[in-house]
Subunit: 367 residues, 4 copies
């Protein structure tokens, strides 16, 4: 398989270039009989969409999805057949991209796509565009709806760091999307958010860009999800999140900070809370041996600063000539981290939904 699908039982395939007919997703393996969550999908697509504020790219496409298959028109329920959603590309000003047709933009995927395929869709970055993530978010919203409806699972991501500005940690039991969305940068620590916003605007006026960190929790995941060995929940979260454009680092639980702790500090002691096995601390981040233990799953993802900047840089042409690259100003975010929040939530939801289904039937006594 050529890398455009993810998931084993809840399997999605995204398609589409940033300029062309459209982008979309096919979901194979969605359980039958679930009310199709049009609103949740639209909401998450809206949160992902550029042009939401003065901080982001001005592309004005509404990102309305068209549902091509997989839902019963009379009942509005999923059929158990492939669900296809398409979002048309309507605001494609490809003349903006003339200057990158022959020059490789530093730290973009232009050169590597050429190295791999010998051809690439020049306009808008083609398949490497963030526009590809529309399909992930549409499918992820469906996945989280299934998780919510069956297990009351809640997935919430937020921006914890922008450049060198960190924020106070929220209450992991309480943090919710409306709290996250109070500030356009999706950092629930409003004081930090203000400082972050200033940093983003400074970067913008300087033609530069910044990165940041997104953290995410999944609450309500039962113990016993995840496959041991290669398909550990932690490994599959890592793959799913590291497949998001610009991702450079991943942590589960304490992450790199765990390496500084002694075993006696890091171990999560067990206790009984009624009938339920609980841990007093949660350094593990809800996963032990690759399998969920019923505690809050918590993750972090590092995003590099956006590669598109409006400064002179050295580069080379497709023909192998050194050139000075001076991009004309176009519509681009100096910081994509806030918009990546629903993408992170979506990838987490996709992994969990897949493992909810992979869990089915693994015990003889349940067959």
């Amino acid at each position: 398989m050529a890398g455009n699908s993810v998931g084993e039982r809840f399997r999605i395939t995204t398609f589409g270039e940033s300029h062309g007919g459209g982008v979309g997703v096919v979901i194979d393996g969605c359980p039958a009989g679930h009310p199709f969550p049009n609103d949740r999908i639209a909401t998450q697509l809206g949160r992902r969409r550029p042009g939401q504020s003065r901080l982001s790219s001005q592309r004005k496409e509404p990102d309305r999805f068209e549902l091509l298959s997989g839902v019963d028109p009379s009942s509005g329920k999923t059929l158990g057949t492939p669900i296809t959603m398409v979002v048309r590309n309507v605001d494609a000003r490809s003349e903006h991209y003339d200057d990158i047709a022959t020059t490789y933009r530093p730290s973009h995927a232009d050169y590597t796509y050429d190295a791999r395929f010998g051809i690439r869709a020049v306009a808008g970055g083609g398949r490497a565009s963030a526009r590809e993530t529309i399909g992930r978010v549409a499918a992820g919203a469906l996945a989280e709806d299934l998780l919510a409806a069956t297990h009351g699972i809640e997935i919430v991501a937020w921006v914890s760091d922008i450049a060198d500005i960190s924020s106070a940690a929220p209450d992991l039991q309480q943090i919710c999307r409306s709290e996250v969305d109070r500030h356009v940068l999706r950092c629930p620590d409003l004081q930090a958010a203000e400082a972050m916003e200033k940093r983003v605007l400074d970067a913008r006026s300087d033609g530069d860009s910044v990165g940041g960190v997104i953290r995410c929790v999944a609450r309500g995941v039962p113990a016993g999800w995840g496959e041991p060995v290669f398909s550990k929940l932690s490994a599959e979260f890592a793959a799913a999140l590291m497949s998001i454009p610009a991702a450079k680092g991943f942590e589960i639980g304490d992450g790199f900070a765990a390496t500084k702790k002694m075993g006696s500090e890091h171990n999560d002691e067990f206790y009984m809370q009624g009938d339920r096995v609980r841990t007093r601390t949660n350094h593990s981040g809800g996963i032990q041996g690759g399998i969920s233990n019923g505690e809050i799953i918590r993750l972090a993802l590092a995003f590099k600063p956006v590669a598109t900047i409006f400064k002179h840089q050295q580069s080379v042409t497709q023909e192998g000539r050194d050139v000075r690259f001076s991009p004309r100003k176009g519509r681009h975010d100096p910081c994509v981290v806030a918009r990546a929040v629903p993408i992170v939530e979506s990838m987490v939801a996709l992994v969990l939904c897949d493992h909810m289904l992979r869990r089915a039937g693994i015990r003889f006594e349940e067959l």
Copy 2:
């Protein structure tokens, strides 16, 4: 698939519990006609083996592998058929594990395996034991041999941090395994290594444990390996490395440090070096848009401290009763990081070998 396989074209399946007949691996998809690298496999298994020094567990099994299939006895070459290697379990003192039969060890996988399967192999951690990684290392050594023979690729990992002790970065162009192996802790900065050793011995005498960070480079990977979107090289490295027991964090290139940089600092400018497209810096860690760009690939992996400690801890029994858990002293490493070095190399090799084969045939002009 139930999580015991990884790779698409160079696909391995590991099997075996820590106590029982043995552990091993089946490799499906190894190209035919390659001289089977007995010595390289034995060497890497030797580097992975416990009992190499006073710092590690005293299990004395030699980890000699038996080759069951896939190699032509007359020529010693691979047949293109499944290659099966088995390492017998010979030193299984299962009486050591009586105390964990009914009590869940904190931050081990005992509870989560029970939550998933309703049954578990008690002795030695069963499938969650580090012994499972024997199959990975055997297969990884074959993979790196293919990479070396076809492209001169070199993969070298080392310990950069133990607990709060960091080391000086080696020369990424030069660092080699013999240099890494000069110290038993596999940290090439010998001064730091001494401090690390002291820290490990302190932890040991205290019945405690420590974690650390392993860094790894892959040199010689051509531009154009890796699939865009979900099977990005970075995503598959993340999954492969995060599937190693005790892994809690992953970085490619600058990793989390990238989030603190401005785009103008982080971008890797291109230039021509003869016919070859190069980058002046390598913040990206050799991967852009999920595809290799021909520069050194560099990764980091965070290991939590070993969960097995010899201190009293609160826990619960399988029957749901709060207990005090006081493990009898057994053979266990207070620090597994050094032994994980060949495991990290193996997982990196497995991903690269898989993508070498996935690269074949993706251009029409090459068919």
Copy 3:
């Protein structure tokens, strides 16, 4: 995976119900840089389309496909990214299907879909409709174009039997699509074709239906394609062809007739034709040990008579009541075999194209 994808390296996923937004296909793994064969795809879709003659269903949709992704607009070449084609549903008269909303039609998939999913798309058979095969044919035409361009491979299928009328075997070296298409029933033996047509018209006027046999050859497949053991070419052809609606039997080479022969009659002796290893006979049908031997591949597929007939039949309702089922006359073919000819060709092309790519990189010396 939930059964809507096929192929490993040239992987297609079809989607869509017979009534709803549309049907289509996503192709992941198409090599980059191949001129996209619009005309070949349109031609094969045209051959699959109902309403081509008085013998078939009167649905008038033109089955024009829309290309959503994966092709470079400027060069018209494939990008190596997912190719998505959609055909809209425009002639959906769902009122025709009221009578089947609650009654299970004998030998249709109504009952079994309900047994599986607990819900089904009633109108037009939903996903079990022959309309699903549009995606297969669109993708298959692309696959055969790749096979033709790279190896000169030709795939030709024809109708050999309708009901109890058999036809003379054509020259397997020469038979071509234009010869097949001379008669609307796609039987190149025109005398037999006339008799078949009469049989079909009789069935139609009687409200009944007939089945038949399609045979297919693939010429020009090199020796060495196909994986041993479970992914034998013969096994994958069998799966691909038996996945076509109404297929009930499959043969490779002599098929069931081989069981009547002695080994000395059935064995294909080798001889040298210049540098090339050839066989004097081809009882094996071009495949030995699951791998192509360079001779013509020949296959047969049995189609049951169409389940839709206009006669009274006993059946049951969704609620579990015995009823007499008397379908109102609608638009349906009494014989779908001729229309299945391009579907058979497409499935054969998809398997071969997948194995062409799976062949890449399996020898060490070719890496």
Copy 4:
């Protein structure tokens, strides 16, 4: 994947050449907590074994399997981890194979393996040997044990035809293995079996070989198993059975005979039997639209005559020279059909067990 694995959730990988360390299987995805059926596995391996009678090859290996992993030693129950079984090769007289080292045996896989891999295990046919099927039978016996324990499913295959001798159909509701095994040729029609035996002995004394047909039923499969579209039960049975060495044709239900029937003859009318939807006839063979309908599943598989014969044949050498091939007499069956009976049962069991698990979790209301 290189073709040595089959199944999606109950996934087996076979390994091993006919001469070498051994042959075996790894099963990934077996539900946890099932009593491991040692006896059933031994029984089916015994039925597959050569040397059972004067009609078959004289290889004397007992085919005792060694269990390496996946079963809890204390309880004898499956752990949900990979189950590995190995059968050693102990009777390997490879000197018998000198004459085939350089000459391609007609209708064997010698030439095609060379064409694919450029290398092959000469002795005993290597991976193309029937010995590979040991792993299938071991895994299949486990699969059928799961099916029996959870749903009371019974799978019974028998020989219906040898060469041109057909037998009377048994009662599909009653036929059982003990009845099948009354005659060494595994044809329950004893009169036909006698005639078949004579035909086999004649072929043997003539240095020739014969083929035949195996039929198989699966009783007790509930309605609703099987995936629509590409993973139809019928398609997956076809692939599984056509992957057995020497298979040339496959039928489900009426198979090719269905093509001669009118729709009104072939359709299976529904009726209610208490709460259960039944069909009055079973031309469909228990599968409609690729999904089981609760009736008996019935299949047929055609086996060509064994390629190994002791007559002069024309052939070519590996170096491309025409030669006369006159094999020295070795130990080989003139008819393998009877021994293939447990292999057919095993492949049917593997497909069904996989689909039992794929069925789990596909309805929203069951999550």
